[in-house]
Symmetry: C2
Subunit: 465 residues, 2 copies
C-alpha cells in the first residue's frame, strides 16, 4: 500500500493530497523510530556519565559543550558550532547549617545561586520564622535587625508545575526583602515537593539598592524541624557559606543545524539548556531537554531528505543563572524574523500530555496535521491558550515576536528532584523520554516541512503581539 501510494504521488495532480499523506507516513515512521532508537537516551546517559554537572561558566560546562559538538557532528548535523558570551561564574564552596539552640541538629543546606558568602566563621543568630512569603513582606522595616529570617512556605505539587511560580518568589526576591527589614541572612524551605534531606538550590536576584545578605535553602524535613522547634520557643541557627563569584567567564551555547532543502534561511528552532546546577548531574534539568531536542532532530537527520526549512537545535548555556534568553535574543534579533517558530524542552522527561500552538493557529491546517500526529502519542491539543513558553526563548518571543510552541509535560514529580544533588540519570524513564522525542520529532518535521506562517495566522486572528 505504502509503495503504491508513494508511486502515484509522482503524478502532479495528486501532489498536494499526497503531500499530506506522505507527511503522515513520515510522522508515523518518526514516532515508531523514536520508540526503538536509543540515540536520545544514550546522549543523556553519556552526558551525565562522561561529563556530569555543568555549572554555567565552569570548565565542566565548556567540556560539555565540546562533547555535544562532537556528538552532533558524528550524528550527521550539517552545521555545528558554539556561541560564547560572558557571565558571572558562581562557585558554591563549603556550606553548613545547623540549629544551635535549643539543641544542636544538623540541617541539609544549599546556598542559593548568586548568594554572597557569610563571614568565615559563619553567622549565628536567633531566627524569626515566617510560614509564608507574604508574612515576610508584611513585617515592618527594621524588624529583622540582627536576626536570620526563615521562610517555610511550602510548595504545592501540581501536574503542570504551577506551584513553582508561587513558591519561587521566596527564593528569587526573598533575600532582598529580608535585607530590607534588617536581616543578617535568609534561610528558606527548599522550593521543592519532596521530603528528602536534600536541599534545592536555584538562583536568587539581589536588589542592587539593598545590602546583599547570604541566602540558603534547607531541605523540607529540616524546615519541618525548624517549624516544630520554633513552635516551642526561641531557635538559633548557624549558617556558613563560602561561595565565590568570578565575573566575565565564558558560557557556551551549542548549535546544530539540519539545513532546509528549499528555505534554508527559515528556521524551526528547538532546544533545551546544556548548563545545570552543580549539585547533581543535570539529568532532568536539563540534560533531558537537550537530549529530547537533539534526539528529535537526529531522527529527522536520518530521513532520506532534509525538510524544506532548517531545523536548528540550540543547547543554551547559562539558563540556570538567568542569562540565556537575553543573550540569545541579543545575538539573533536580526534573524528573528526568519525563525518560524521556537520551542524549548525544560521540564524533565515526564510524558507530554498536551500541546499549545501559537495564538491564532488552532484552526489552521497545520494544527489539524499536528493534532492527528500527536494524538496517537497520547497528546491532546489544548483548546485554550496560556502564556507558557520557556525561559530560554522568551526573549525571542517577547522582543521579536517569534511564535512559540509549548508541550505540557507531566511534572507531578519534577520538583522532587529539581535543582538538587538528586538530579541523576536514574530519574529519567527511557520510555517517557522516547515519547517526548517522538512528539518533538513529529512537530519539528511537520513545521520544517511546511510553509505554515504562524505570524500571519496570529495577525489574521487579531492576536499578533
Amino acid at each position: 500500500m505504502r509503495f503504491l501510494r508513494r508511486l502515484s504521488c509522482a503524478l502532479p495532480a495528486l501532489v498536494i493530497l499526497c503531500s499530506a499523506a506522505a507527511n503522515a507516513d513520515t510522522v508515523s515512521d518518526l514516532a515508531a523510530k523514536a520508540k526503538t532508537d536509543s540515540w536520545g537516551y544514550d546522549f543523556l546517559a553519556d552526558l551525565t556519565t562522561d561529563i556530569g554537572a555543568r555549572m554555567a561558566g565552569s570548565k565542566s560546562e565548556r567540556d560539555a559543550a565540546e562533547w555535544a559538538v562532537a556528538r552532533l557532528k558524528k550524528a550527521g548535523f550539517d552545521e555545528v558550532h558554539i556561541e560564547k558570551f560572558p557571565v558571572p561564574y558562581w562557585a558554591r564552596g563549603a556550606e553548613e547549617a545547623s540549629i544551635v539552640a535549643p539543641r544542636t541538629q544538623t540541617l541539609a543546606v544549599a546556598a542559593l545561586g548568586h548568594s554572597v558568602p557569610t563571614p568565615p566563621a559563619g553567622i549565628d543568630a536567633d531566627i524569626v520564622i515566617f510560614k509564608s512569603f507574604q508574612a515576610l513582606l508584611d513585617a515592618p522595616e527594621g524588624s529583622l535587625k540582627g536576626k536570620i529570617a526563615v521562610v517555610t512556605q511550602k510548595m504545592v505539587r501540581a501536574q503542570d508545575g504551577e506551584g513553582y511560580g508561587v513558591a519561587v518568589r521566596t527564593r528569587v526576591a526573598g533575600p532582598s526583602e529580608a535585607a530590607k527589614r534588617g536581616a543578617l541572612a535568609l534561610v528558606i524551605r527548599s522550593i521543592g515537593t519532596d521530603n528528602h534531606r536534600i536541599a534545592h538550590t536555584g538562583v536568587t536576584l539581589y536588589n542592587k539598592d539593598l545590602p546583599k545578605i547570604p541566602a540558603a535553602a534547607i531541605s523540607n524535613p529540616d524546615a519541618d524541624l525548624v517549624e516544630r522547634m520554633a513552635a516551642k520557643g526561641p531557635v538559633k541557627l548557624h549558617l556558613k557559606l563560602d561561595s565565590k563569584t568570578t565575573e566575565n567567564v565564558d558560557t557556551y551555547t551549542v548549535v546544530g543545524e539540519l539545513k532546509g532543502r528549499e528555505h534554508p534561511e527559515q528556521v524551526v528552532l528547538i532546544g533545551g539548556h546544556l548548563d545545570s546546577w552543580e549539585l547533581g548531574a543535570g539529568a532532568i534539568d536539563d540534560g533531558a531537554g537537550v537530549a529530547i531536542a537533539a534526539g528529535a532532530a537526529k531522527l529527522i537527520a536520518d530521513l532520506p531528505q532534509r525538510p524544506k526549512r532548517t531545523v536548528r537545535v540550540v543547547m543554551f548555556g547559562a539558563e540556570e543563572i538567568g542569562y540565556a534568553s537575553d543573550a540569545y535574543e541579543a545575538a539573533h534579533s536580526k534573524e528573528a524574523g526568519n525563525i518560524v517558530i521556537a520551542g524549548e524542552s525544560d521540564f524533565g522527561a515526564g510524558r507530554i500530555y498536551n500541546a499549545e500552538l501559537p495564538a491564532g493557529s488552532l484552526n489552521s491546517p497545520f494544527a489539524k496535521q499536528l493534532t492527528a500526529a500527536i494524538l496517537p502519542l497520547g497528546v491532546d491539543m489544548r483548546r485554550e491558550s496560556s502564556s507558557h513558553g520557556g525561559a530560554d526563548i522568551e526573549g525571542l518571543h517577547e522582543k521579536d515576536g517569534v511564535p512559540f510552541i509549548d508541550f505540557g509535560q507531566d511534572g507531578t514529580h519534577y520538583f522532587d528532584i529539581h535543582h538538587t544533588a538528586d538530579d541523576t540519570l536514574d530519574k529519567v524513564d527511557p520510555a517517557e523520554l522516547a515519547q517526548n522525542i517522538a512528539v518533538w520529532a513529529a512537530f519539528t518535521w511537520l513545521a520544517a516541512n511546511s510553509d505554515v506562517d504562524f505570524r500571519a495566522q496570529a495577525a489574521s486572528a487579531g492576536t499578533a503581539k
Copy 2:
C-alpha cells in the same frame, strides 16, 4: 449492653465466660483509644525534635535516655530506671568520596559504622568492581592488592524486608573479605532500596585476624554511575574517612514498668531501641519502635487497674552497633525464666499485617483471643512459624528460651530510609503508628492479663527450644 454484662459478671458462675468478654471489651477500648490518643506520636515527634540523632555512646543518647525517663515517669509508669553498659563509641567525622578518573564526579558517601579512618589525605586508587558479593568472594587472594574494591550488588525490595538479609552481608562481612584479597578499602552500594543521593550507613564487623580497611557506602545513583563508568574503562576513586573510636563509653537502656497486680514477678517485655544512627533523627529506626512500645503500655497504664502481670517497656541502647541483645541477656539471664514473652518493634511504623505466636501456641485459647483482637485491626495470624524475632531480644530467646511474639509490618519502603540522613519524622504516618500501637496494646494487655504459659505450650507441642 456493656453495663449489664459487667454487672452480671459479679456472679461467680459467670466469671470465666465474663473474663473473656471483659477482655474483649478492654481490647476494643484500647484499640479505639489508640486511634485518638496522640501520646505515642507525640513521644516520637518530641524525641526527634527535642533530641534528634542518638548514636550509641554519644551524649545525645544519654540525653535521650534522661528525656525518656522523664517522659515515662510523667506518663504514670510505676517504676522507671536506666541500665548502663560500656560500648565502643564510634564517631563518623568528615568523609568524602569522588570519582577522580576518567572524570571527577562527587559521590554521596557514608562510612560504615566501625570503619577505620583512611590516612589523612585519603586513598586514591583504581577500582575493581564486583556486581555481587559472591563475585568478590570468588576473587583470588591477593587479587585486589593496591585497589579499592567496589561491590554494587542491589538490594531487592520486599514487603517483609527479606532483601536486607541477602544484601547486608556485603556491608557486614565485605570489608574483611576485601582485605583478605589485598584491597586498600571497600566501597559498597548502599544497602537500601531508594534511588536518592543519600548513602546508607550501618555497622560492619571486622575479622580480627585480618587488616582493618576503611569501608563506606555510596548512594544508589552513585553506584549506578560507577557501574556505567566502569563499563567504559578504568575508574579511579578517592575516599577520605575520618572516623574515630573511643572504647568503654556508657550506653543507656531505659526501662519502664507497670507492675502486675497479681504476679508482678512475671514479665511481658516489649520494646524497641532508643539509640540511632547519627545521620538522621532516628524516626523510623527506631524512634517509632520505642514510641509504639511505650505508647501501647501508656494506654494500658491509663486503664482503671493494672493487668495481672508486669508490663515492661525496654528502650534498648546500642542496638545499631550490635551490643544490645547480649548485654541485656547477660544482665537479665537470671530472671529470664520469669519473662513470659518478649517482643520488639524495630521495623519502622509501617502497618502491621500479620502476627506470629511462639511455637506451639497457635491453637491455644490465647491465640484465639489474640486473633479475634487483631483481625479488626487488619492483622492476620500467621499459620506457619518463621524464625523472626528481633535484634534486641534474640539473646534472651536463644540463650534463655524466652518465647517471643513477632508482628509483621509492611516494610516495602522501610529500606528507602533505613540508616540514612533521611530518617526523619515526616517519614512516619501517624495513622500507621496508631495501628501499631493498637496491635501492641491488644497483645500486651491480653498476655499480661492472662495466665498463658507459652513455654508449656511449646513443650506440649514438642517444639521447646
